[in-house]
Amino acid sequence: MIYQGKQRIWSEYQKEIPTDHWFYVRSCIRQSFFPASEKTFLEILRDRLGKDVYETPHHTTCGGIAYHSEAIPQETVMTIIARQFALMTEAGYENYVCSCITSFGLYSEVIEDWREFPELLAKIRENLWKATRREFKIPTYLAHASDLIYKFRNQIAEQAKFRLVNKATGEPLRVVEHIGCHYSKMFPSKGVGGAEYPYVLAGMVESWGGEVIDYPERRHCCGFGFRQYLVKANRGYSVSNTHKKFESMEPFKPDMIITNCPGCPYFLDRWQYVIAEQTGKTYGENGYGIPVFTYEEVAGLVLGYNPWDLGLQTHQVAVEPLLDKMGIPYKPEDKYKGPRGELLQRPDFPMNIKCC
């Protein structure tokens, strides 16, 4: 692997990301499975970096998952998106940042379609007006939340309490980055670093001291596949794709996985559990899995957040071995505590994959 070759490509795909005044929309999956990640994102931006990030209680799903499961027509999803944009316009913002990769891809696609087919845009304006009496402007800048963390990765590094380094050996941690398919595969220029070697997560990992490892199936989808997961009969597809990725990364012995899509960490985490329970195979050291994180969680860890405030206890693959490696202190007894410090009954141990 020739690193300079990648650098050259990264330098060609640098998207413009404004530094402030963002209209923020949440992700259905991220808030359901990683609610603390969104909280962390807002805290870092607002409190640590002093940025203006606005959230309205009226915003909803973008409809992306429903759209990609063919539960709603294209016109519907476009109109829902138009409503989101209308909320942004009404709030006086022009920069739109979303937490979800499916949303991000869909927004990019929709904006591109509207640009190419003005009659379609007119139709959607009409639909929105008919349904909600709202009007909208297309955002000037569209970003995924990971773009912002990437943008401020060096500021975060400056405030870092911990680094992605094995404290015992001083070696950088070996990090696998997994980019959501809809981040840049459709529009390489809309993602930091393009489609083949996206730099959005790699940049964070490098800034925070880790080493990015590239393995053959890096670009492969996690296997969510919308209906391929949502309908139980299809989940063989989903787990098989994840399995393919893990088989490919296994020889590289990664310490952790970082993701920017809300669904991928859930699948990369849970399918490890399913594979272990079905076949007995685990991919981490000593019978553990390879811990999977959202980029917000990683940023939070670097900045010294309490792992249990970051929601790492909701991961099925145990994170403790990694926390130990990084030298992050944590209280095991706090892991399964409720909001007021009350002890909740701890989860069962799985059979084949080691947990703490």
């Binding site: 259905c28 999956i29 808030q31 359901s32 609610p35 603390a36 909280k39 959230e55 209680p57 009226h58 909803t60 799903t61 409809g63 992306g64 998952i65 429903a66 990609h68 499961s69 063919e70 539960a71 709603i72 027509p73 294209q74 519907t76 109109t79 829902i80 409503r83 087919f117 349904a131 909600t132 595969k185 459709m186 670009r219 492969h220 989808c221 969510f224 596949g225 919308f226 209906r227 391929q228 949502l230 309908v231 009969a233 299809n234 989940r235 063989g236 597809y237 989903s238 559990y273 399913v274 249990w308 405030d309 909701t314 991961h315 099925q316 399964y336 409720g338 909740l344 069962d348 799985p350």
Partner: protein
């Protein structure tokens, strides 16, 4: 050169995603679905490109078009700026509109899918929502997932989510007027009509198959025949 094709060509995803395919196979080479299903996006695109209505109808009634995971990895690779994934999405939409979806096992999954999705969006404003994410239907949620479900309120509160609460924040209750707007959008843009088509066609099909609607929906959600994957006869 037929009517079905003309109708398909109205779809913006065909306009966007099908210019002229040269059957080079870069899409199939990296397609996650082609790897595990009996599926080949290149083949689908060349059928659509043939404009042969009979062949397209066969697609609309078959399982093939439902194998795609819509990851759109194919879009990156195509040397002709096509998007096989978008072509499949347009086919699926047409299959629903024409009621052909009910003819295939994978197509019949539309009923449980649309029930789950449309109800989530209309009732909560989210596509996925903890209240409707049942552990029974998602055993892969794992032992930790079971723990989250068992202690849902406490866990979400501990992690800073505003589950079911007013005001901004994760999993907050979306104001009713916003949900009403979503319903209005559904009515205006055809989502409501889609639900009606799917309900109606599914009922017809359930009668034909001699199943109650509950059985039909459960079967669609849980069952898979031995004909979809590569290694099967």
């Amino acid at each position: 050169m037929g009517k079905i094709y003309d109708r398909l060509a109205q779809d913006y995803r065909i306009k966007e995603g099908l210019k002229a395919c040269i059957s080079c196979g870069t899409c199939t080479a990296i397609c996650p679905a082609a790897e595990f299903y009996r599926y080949n996006p290149k083949k689908i695109v060349s059928i659509v490109q043939s404009r042969d209505d009979d062949a397209i109808i066969e697609l609309l009634k078959g399982d093939q078009i439902w194998y795609c995971g819509e990851c759109l990895s194919c879009v990156t690779r195509c040397p002709r700026k096509n998007a096989p994934g978008l072509v499949v999405m347009a086919l699926r939409a047409l299959s629903i509109e024409l009621g052909y979806f009910a003819e295939s096992e994978k197509g019949r999954q539309q009923l449980p899918l649309m029930h789950a999705m449309q109800r989530n969006v209309l009732n909560y404003g989210y596509c996925v929502y903890p209240e409707t994410f049942a552990y029974e239907k998602h055993p892969e949620y794992g032992t930790v997932g079971k723990w989250v479900k068992d202690n849902q309120k406490a866990v979400y509160e501990r992690l800073g989510a505003h589950l079911g609460q007013i005001g901004p924040g994760a999993l907050r209750k979306i104001p009713q007027e916003s949900l009403d707007e979503l319903k209005a959008i559904f009515d205006v843009t055809g989502a409501t009509r889609w639900m009606e088509i799917v309900e109606e066609k599914s009922q017809e099909k359930a009668r034909e198959m001699g199943l109650t609607m509950e059985e039909y929906e459960a079967q669609a959600f849980n069952q898979t025949s031995r004909c979809h994957l590569n290694d099967e006869d």
